[in-house]
């Protein structure tokens, strides 16, 4: 083969390889973008799950927290005992009882002890009643914050997908552009080169064949074509007189249309 043909073939091969490399580069870039996107979503999902678990744990511990809060509330109210005298020291009750009336004094003491028992019971009951609402309110507020965190994470993912991902994909799609363009240029060059390279090669082959035929007393390649055709009504070699004309033709070297 002629050097031009080799060059053309090399260009075609290099062009094809460059196109493949371009596609590989684009694929790699797209995969990188998608990997980053997947990692972001995965991270957001894990954060969301952690927030949801936090809420679930808060509600799961409601009973223990409720008991603790009830005890706290009961203790808080129980600290305040009913006064038995004014700030000036005047007793509210019992002052009408004579000093000797131990029965009345004991009676008052018993009454106050019973009242304290009733008060304790009242405080405990009210504490228990309030504790549930308190704990559930705290749980709800925490759940609201966690829901907000989950929403914020989802917003981040959405923002990324809407604002950044298209630009990153656009860039990734063009990542192999240099290679692809180089491949296209090489293929174009090879295509332009092809008629000349192939024609030169064919002419060289024809010249070589003609040389060999001359040695053997046979017409050169183009006229051999006429000799070789078995046209109806023509004897083999009937068109051999055209051979000198063909050899002198200005389009010599160009592949013969037949």
């Amino acid at each position: 083969m002629e050097p031009l043909t080799w060059i053309m073939l090399a260009l075609m091969a290099a062009g094809t390889a460059a196109s493949a490399q371009g596609q590989r580069k684009t694929g790699q870039a797209r995969a990188g973008v998608m990997q980053e996107e997947r990692e972001r979503r995965s991270k957001q999902q894990k954060e969301g799950e952690a927030s949801a678990m936090n809420t679930a744990e808060a509600f799961a511990q409601t009973k223990a927290k409720e008991e603790a809060r009830a005890a706290e509330l009961a203790a808080s109210s129980a600290k305040i005992a009913a006064p038995t005298e004014t700030a000036a020291g005047t007793k509210f009750l019992g002052i009408e009882a004579p000093q000797t009336s131990t029965q009345m004094v004991e009676g008052y003491k018993g009454a106050q002890a019973r009242a304290q028992a009733r008060a304790d019971q009242h405080h405990a009951a009210m504490g228990k009643l309030s504790a549930f609402g308190d704990v559930m309110l705290d749980n709800s507020i925490l759940a609201g914050k966690n829901a907000q965190d989950i929403g914020q994470g989802a917003g981040f993912t959405q923002g990324w997908q809407q604002n950044v991902l298209p630009a990153l994909m656009e860039r990734a799609n063009g990542a192999g552009r240099d290679w692809a363009t180089a491949g296209d240029v090489m293929k174009l060059a090879a295509t332009i080169m092809a008629p000349f390279a192939l024609g030169q090669s064919a002419a060289a082959s024809a010249a070589k064949a003609a040389g060999e035929a001359a040695k053997q007393g046979v017409l050169s390649t183009p006229t051999n074509m006429f000799n070789a055709y078995q046209l109806p009504g023509l004897q083999p070699g009937a068109l051999s007189h055209l051979s000198p004309m063909l050899k002198a033709a200005p389009w010599r070297g160009v592949p013969f249309p037949l």
Binding site: S77, R118, H122, G133
Partner: protein, 206 residues
């Protein structure tokens, strides 16, 4: 080599802007929560309870002292100064005091819970705004305004009369019994006793 039509630059810009937006939202959220958390910490709610008690307790104690005096006067008017009724009333009075203390405590809890809800709502509003705009400055200004609004003391309605029924009915009952009415008949079902002239000596009875 051949250029990418600005895709790389645009991708870089988009990434930078979005990362900056998310950073502002994240930091803004942390800072907003920190501000609210500092303003409305445990001490704030303890102080709210203490304020509630300080607002209501003197009134309650005044009413208690007044009711105690009224009760004593009622018992003395009825001649029941040294009686089981006086002892029973003492028990009722102390229990009523415990109930009043609890009422104040419940009001305090109510104020605390109401404030917690308001604060959570305010914080939520600020953060929603921040999520939408990613404008930290506006969020902080809004947070400060909301905190200022919510640190105002809650409206505390008057306690009302909490010991009104402590001595109610005492004088009436004594008067009725003096006139041989509304007595508790203990022996009415025992053969040989009749209701007109055989009955126990009730409180304030003759």
């Amino acid at each position: 080599m051949f250029g990418d039509g600005g895709a790389k630059k645009e991708a870089k810009r988009a990434r930078k802007e979005e990362e900056a937006r998310q950073f502002r939202v994240k930091i803004g959220t942390q800072e907003t929560r920190r501000k609210f958390g500092e303003a409305f910490n445990d001490k704030y709610y303890d102080d709210l309870m203490a304020t509630t008690k300080a607002a209501y307790t003197p009134d309650m104690e005044r009413q208690f002292a007044e009711a105690s005096k009224q009760l004593r006067a009622s018992l003395l008017r009825a001649g029941l100064g040294n009686s089981q009724v006086a002892i029973n009333k003492e028990e009722d009075k102390a229990a009523a005091h415990a109930g009043a203390v609890n009422e104040i405590e419940q009001r305090g809890i109510g104020f605390q819970n109401e404030r917690k809800k308001d604060v959570a709502y305010a914080e939520n509003t600020v953060l929603n705004q921040l999520n939408q705009t990613a404008d930290m400055g506006a969020a902080f200004a809004n947070a400060s305004a909301q905190i200022a609004n919510n640190t105002k003391p809650p409206a505390m309605p008057m306690l009302g009369q909490v010991f009104t029924d402590l001595s109610a009915g005492l004088a009436t009952q004594a008067d009725l019994e003096r006139y041989n009415q509304n007595r508790y008949n203990v022996f009415g079902r025992i053969p040989g006793w009749n209701e007109r002239n055989r009955y126990t000596r009730n409180v304030g009875g003759t």
